[in-house]
């Protein structure tokens, strides 16, 4: 099978970006939107076709082959080390193709309604195309350097789209924050790549060479023994962890998560596409990409990743319980769910010196959750977009009782909530259940922690649901502005995504594992009913609790809780003051104690030296110029005196 056409999957959105970016000024909104959406439709069809042919092709030794249909050397550093650009097809990249193209297409269609009449509509579609190209390039990368390049590109797109409403101060600040925080984390990624490239002699994702290299290193048979020994020892885990720091920045792991909630200043469809479904899972994807190395050479470090993920999941869930801005709740829920995926990857165990599908169940679970989460979280964000479109506010106090006005949004939102809470038969149940099984397999403590966080997820999602669709209606506000259901162009994507969420889990029972698994061999998912029953039970209790507290017209219990624990509520509402901590650290400590003395030194000592030089030259020239006065009489006098002196000297 020839896959060379996959290059079009990258080229088409890029050309669309160029066209819309350059010619957008002369296009009508309608033409620009239609053009972008059509191109993306073609890309989607190509992606689906690729996935279909790839997954129906014959396996070799029970494994789907890793194919590199396109590859060329772009920048050779040395004979062995070169920076290639190409396309690599393997189960996870093909799966990501489907996720990205589906969500991106839905967002393109949805934006047609949501961004209707906005200034910069063409620019918006141009950026969406660029983002889609970058994200696809990221997942199709053949080597870590190419991944890094596209990684930065998605970062730029995120920056551009968060700051789409660039006339608003908050959006500008948020875009800068997102860019700086992730850029800062990417420094770790870059250092990790360089260490990795230096010690293993390759950037490629084809790890067979590395494995041989490192395995030989242990026996000391590689020519450069010391270098290779170091690679086999602690260097590789260090490099991988540094790369993970980059991933933690993109995927908003604690403590680098602070940019994601602020990123909600961007248009809501952008939040759905970039900050919920695709870009923020790049960190998870990166860890999954390097997974063979993690599991073979750095399993202990991998468990650190798991604990960071678990803490992040808990933290984000706790904060989500107290937020009042619906997009912020969803943002924290995203952080929490991505952390779930990280945990799933982190709890994988090596089986001897091999990767084993059962011990590395988390890998499959993580990718599974990535897929399902992308669908239902995109639904939730797009629903939130519909609601904001109808109410013109993000705050929950302006909502309440919306179910009467927006039936389609209501139903899709409810289904997505049920899916994220892990209620069967929705897709979230199946993937979350696999994560919990993997966590329990690692340790009971981790398993119960994750189950608890899953319950918190159910609780805050239903708090959000009741806050928007039930409860007291803000009649006063709705009176002069009646909310209405969104147009079909916005509701159809919701319905499509919801259908995927409803059916994906059970329509192909247990098949996800047969396509995507740690070793590549088919792994048949079987539900662990004890874990499943516990998680369903706990989720139902949490939903019940949320119903009891928040579904009524008034919420006496919630108010009472808030009154009983005012400090706890305040802390959670303020996100445990983490932004303030950052503010303190950057402004007071880094700017105040380090940058300011440096600036003083620069301004007074370095600049002072050169100013002194200039001043000295000026002053001496001022003194010298009186000699050249331009007064002929003075010259004549000097001349005369000189002549007389000379004559005197000659005479004497």
């Amino acid at each position: 099978m020839d896959y060379t056409y996959t290059i079009l999957i990258l080229l088409l959105p890029f050309l669309s970006f160029l066209f819309l970016g350059l010619a957008g000024k002369w296009l009508s909104h309608r033409a620009a939107g239609l053009f972008g959406t059509t191109v993306l439709g073609v890309v989607t069809v190509l992606s689906y076709y690729t996935a279909f042919t790839y997954f129906t092709a014959d396996r070799v030794d029970g494994v789907f082959q890793t194919l590199v249909p396109v590859n060329f050397v772009w920048l050779p550093f040395s004979d062995a080390l070169h920076f290639d650009l190409g396309i690599m097809l393997d189960p996870i990249s093909v799966m990501m193709l489907i996720v990205i193209s589906t969500v991106s297409l839905m967002v393109h269609i949805y934006s047609f309604g949501y961004m209707h009449g906005e200034r910069g509509f063409q620019r918006y579609y141009a950026f969406l195309s660029l983002f889609t190209m970058s994200m696809l390039g990221l997942v199709l990368a053949t080597n870590i350097f190419q991944m890094y390049m596209f990684w930065e590109l998605v970062g730029v797109c995120s920056y551009l789209l968060i700051g789409f409403y660039y006339t608003e101060k908050a959006a500008v600040a948020a875009s800068k924050k997102a860019f700086i925080v992730t850029r800062f984390a990417d420094l770790g990624f870059l250092v990790g790549i360089l260490i990795f490239g230096y010690y293993t002699g390759s950037f490629s994702f084809d790890f067979t060479g590395n494995a041989v290299y490192a395995a030989n290193a242990v026996h000391g048979v590689v020519p450069e023994t010391s270098k290779a020994l170091a690679a086999g020892g602690f260097i590789l885990p260090t490099a991988l962890f540094l790369m993970f720091i980059g991933g933690a920045g993109k995927s908003a792991m604690f403590p680098l998560h602070i940019w994601l909630p602020d990123a909600m200043e961007g248009p809501t469809p952008v939040s759905a596409l970039i900050h919920a479904a695709t870009m923020v899972v790049a960190g998870v994807f990166q860890v999954a990409r390097m997974f063979p190395l993690w599991i073979q050479f750095a399993p202990e470090t991998l468990h650190i990743v798991a604990w960071i993920g678990a803490f992040t999941a808990f933290y984000a869930a706790a904060v989500a319980c107290a937020q009042s801005d619906i997009k912020r709740v969803l943002a924290f829920s995203t952080i929490s769910q991505i952390a779930f995926m990280m945990v799933a990857l982190g709890v994988c165990l090596p089986e001897g010196s091999f990767t084993d599908n059962h011990a590395s169940l988390g890998y499959m679970a993580s990718m599974y959750h990535l897929f399902t989460h992308a669908m239902f979280k995109a639904t939730l964000f797009l629903c939130a977009g519909c609601i904001i479109h109808a109410v013109h506010s993000n705050e929950m106090e302006f909502m309440g009782g919306m179910r009467k006005y927006m039936p389609i949004t209501h139903i899709t939102f409810l289904i997505a909530c049920l899916a994220i809470s892990g209620i069967p038969p929705f897709s979230g149940f199946f993937s979350k259940d696999e994560i919990l099984v993997a966590a329990f397999q690692y340790s009971g403590v981790m398993g119960w922690i994750m189950t608890g966080i899953a319950a918190m997820t159910a609780f805050y999602m239903f708090r959000l649901y009741y806050g928007i669709f039930w409860g007291t209606e803000n009649k006063e506000y709705h009176a002069h502005h009646t909310p209405h259901e969104s147009p079909a162009v916005m509701t159809v994507p919701l319905i499509i995504l919801t259908v995927i969420t409803c059916t994906f889990g059970w329509i192909l029972p247990g098949t996800f594992g047969s396509y995507v698994s740690a070793t590549g061999e088919a792994y048949h998912i079987h539900l662990d009913w004890s874990v499943a029953a516990t998680s369903i039970g706990i989720a139902l209790i949490a939903i019940g609790l949320a119903t009891w507290i928040y579904s009524g017209a008034r919420q006496p219990i919630a108010d009472k809780l808030q009154a009983t624990f005012p400090r706890l509520h305040r802390w959670a509402y303020k996100r445990f003051y983490l932004d303030e901590v950052y503010q303190f650290v950057t402004h007071r400590i880094i700017f105040g104690c380090i940058s300011r003395p440096f600036a003083w030194f620069d301004r007074h000592v370095v600049d002072g030296f050169f100013n002194g030089l200039a001043w000295g030259t000026h002053a001496s020239s001022n003194g010298l110029k009186t000699l050249q006065s331009g007064r002929v009489q003075q010259y004549a006098f000097v001349f005369l005196v000189g002549t007389l002196l000379l004559i005197l000297m000659l005479i004497l």
């Binding site: 110029k625 331009g630 007064r631 002929v632 009489q633 004549a636 006098f637 005369l640």
Partner: protein, 103 residues
Amino acid sequence: MNISIYCFLIVSALMLAIGIYGFLTRRNTLAILISVELILNAADLNFAAFNRLLFPAGQEGYFFTLFSVAISAAETAIAIAVMINIYRNLKNNFVENLDSMKW
């Protein structure tokens, strides 16, 4: 009547000294020009005196004096023309005031 060479030398030395003093101290360009003429004439006087004293048969000193007079007349004409133009443009011909093209 035989006038001593010293008389000529004293007169020319005085003229030279007065000319130099005037050149150095006068502020008016016209006065400076007159001072220059005095210096030149002092030199002319010396030419004539020494010619007569040392080479009574020769004429070179006299001719040189005549040349010098002619050239200084031409120089004076140009200098005065320049001064008149400066005065027309700047309404001034005092040297310390003519500094509009100075640094």
